[in-house]
Symmetry: C2
Subunit: 113 residues, 2 copies
DNA sequence: CTACATACATAAGAAAATTATATATACTCA
DNA sequence: TGAGTATATATAATTTTCTTATGTATGTAG
């Protein structure tokens, strides 16, 4: 079934911010599809997780939005603000450090000599 | 200051189970010190996080305990049950997969050709 | 007319953490 | 003697963040 998330807890924001950094602008549904594609179906983001998270980041000033009608459907695009661009870099550093530490703790990486 | 946790969310159990797998038996405070040591102070587990988590894993049958008095202080040692040993392996596979996916999403790993 | 894909939103509840507090012993430092 | 730190465990209150479920709406495939 692939979709054994459970460890996703603290990294949703980081993932979405990084995708926005790379793609310039994205809408919610597009993000879920992109993540599914990149992880080959392993990680499936749910609407109940992404939309509140996007709203929160918008409220915090990390994202701005603009809405478009495409094929008679509403699309709400999200883009990074300047503050958001700074935040991505911080989050990525944090993630890098965290992954390194996790690999050390779980013995997935040789100890540094 | 190093101690920017925040991404620890879903991995506390995995970390503690892995340490127990490696060390045979450990007590709560010892786990916090070991994690601090291995991560050079980056990750500081709090009591409010570890004790409820250990209690839960004991209730689930993953751990058993025995208490000892050392230097006039109580120590509650935790050990893996057979079920717990199986669980560590599952959690480690999950963690490996998750870390791989996260590195892909965050562009911390070259795309597989 | 049913199901699925696209697209957003939100409410209810659960899970897992943070923060704060409490207990208790022992050592150090002023 | 009193304060602070280290060792050691526990729990309550709160917050954050997620899952699950539901609702709206359009378009296509069968």
């Amino acid at each position: 079934m692939g979709s054994s998330n459970g460890m996703l807890k603290g990294s949703l924001q980081t993932i979405m911010l990084k995708l926005l950094q790379e793609n310039g602008r994205m809408y919610g549904y597009e993000i879920t599809q992109k993540v599914k594609e990149i992880t080959k179906g392993d990680i499936k983001l749910t609407e109940g997780a992404i939309y509140p998270s996007l709203h929160k980041m918008e409220a915090e000033g990390l994202l701005i939005t603009h809405t478009e009608m495409v094929e008679n459907r509403v699309r709400k695009y999200y883009l990074l603000t300047e503050e958001g661009k700074v935040e991505v870099r911080n989050k990525l550093k944090e993630a890098e450090s965290f992954i390194g530490n996790l690999q050390l703790l779980l013995n997935m990486k040789p100890a540094v000599s």
